[in-house]
Subunit: 187 residues, 2 copies
Amino acid sequence: MSRWEPNAPARLAQAAMELYAEAGYEETTVARIAERAGLSERTFFRHFADKREVLFAGSSELQDLLVGSVAAAPTSASPMQVVSAALQDAAGWFVDRRDFARARQAVVSSHAALTERELIKMARLATALAKALRERGVEEPAASLTAEAGVAVFRVAFERWVAPNERRSLAEIIDESMTELRTITSS
Amino acid sequence: MSRWEPNAPARLAQAAMELYAEAGYEETTVARIAERAGLSERTFFRHFADKREVLFAGSSELQDLLVGSVAAAPTSASPMQVVSAALQDAAGWFVDRRDFARARQAVVSSHAALTERELIKMARLATALAKALRERGVEEPAASLTAEAGVAVFRVAFERWVAPNERRSLAEIIDESMTELRTITSS
């Protein structure tokens, strides 16, 4: 982390996403991504392990945010309230990232290996959330069920949020999906 | 499928599971599995692509069973009732497979690549169930949320069912987990 490269990860991610859309994911090299971002390959590798990780670096950030939010929730909140509030925090994090999320979704969903990677990340997220709930004193199986239900709501809401003609905010769609889940499970 | 080899897939699966437990998953070869089952390697490859697929052949069978059950449910049933009934059908399928499921779980959970494969299979199962629900006329996002919630219940229940000292039936644990999910989402 020697030279001053303002906002290097974001610039690299933006460049990668442009190239994945223009030239295709397979065809894009790290050299081209770095060039487009006006940075060196060396800088790329300081931030990402490979061109795939440009797509998944955000997943770790998202997981840290959700886990942190669960840990910081008031003790009076029910497990589902805790997870709902965490998902709303995540929605806040995504507010300015819709275009990026759409471009990313297009790449991920058109490559089986990337889709599998995404599924694994989501499953890991549920495991991490369940752990964070247990650390708040929520017992099993409630911790795992709440975490899995929360991730299910997030996945479904996120997919709708990135759909071409969707204009509502992620916060609103999460809220609606959470209500829908409540209706479903009680009928 | 020329020669008469009664129950070859089950014999191969049983032999594989024994060897995975005794000698380890990595160390076990298809040749050894076939030998233990008293069958040829050729017969092994008639039923399984490789030694990993011995562990996952059941996942496809399970998916077909669940999708079939959803498709055959009475039209009057709510989406969650349909999925609950399908999970109970799955529980019936597993009744005589607890020892096998425990041995399998031990192998899968101690290998990261196998655990990832399992997560992918479960995610695919949710996708297949959502599709089966849409084909019954359930709209999105209800179809996906119901499917994801159902798979979450199944995963959590299954993990408890294979736990060392658990004696209750899978049917009972699924039922309890479903009730728990209802409580969680409404609080």
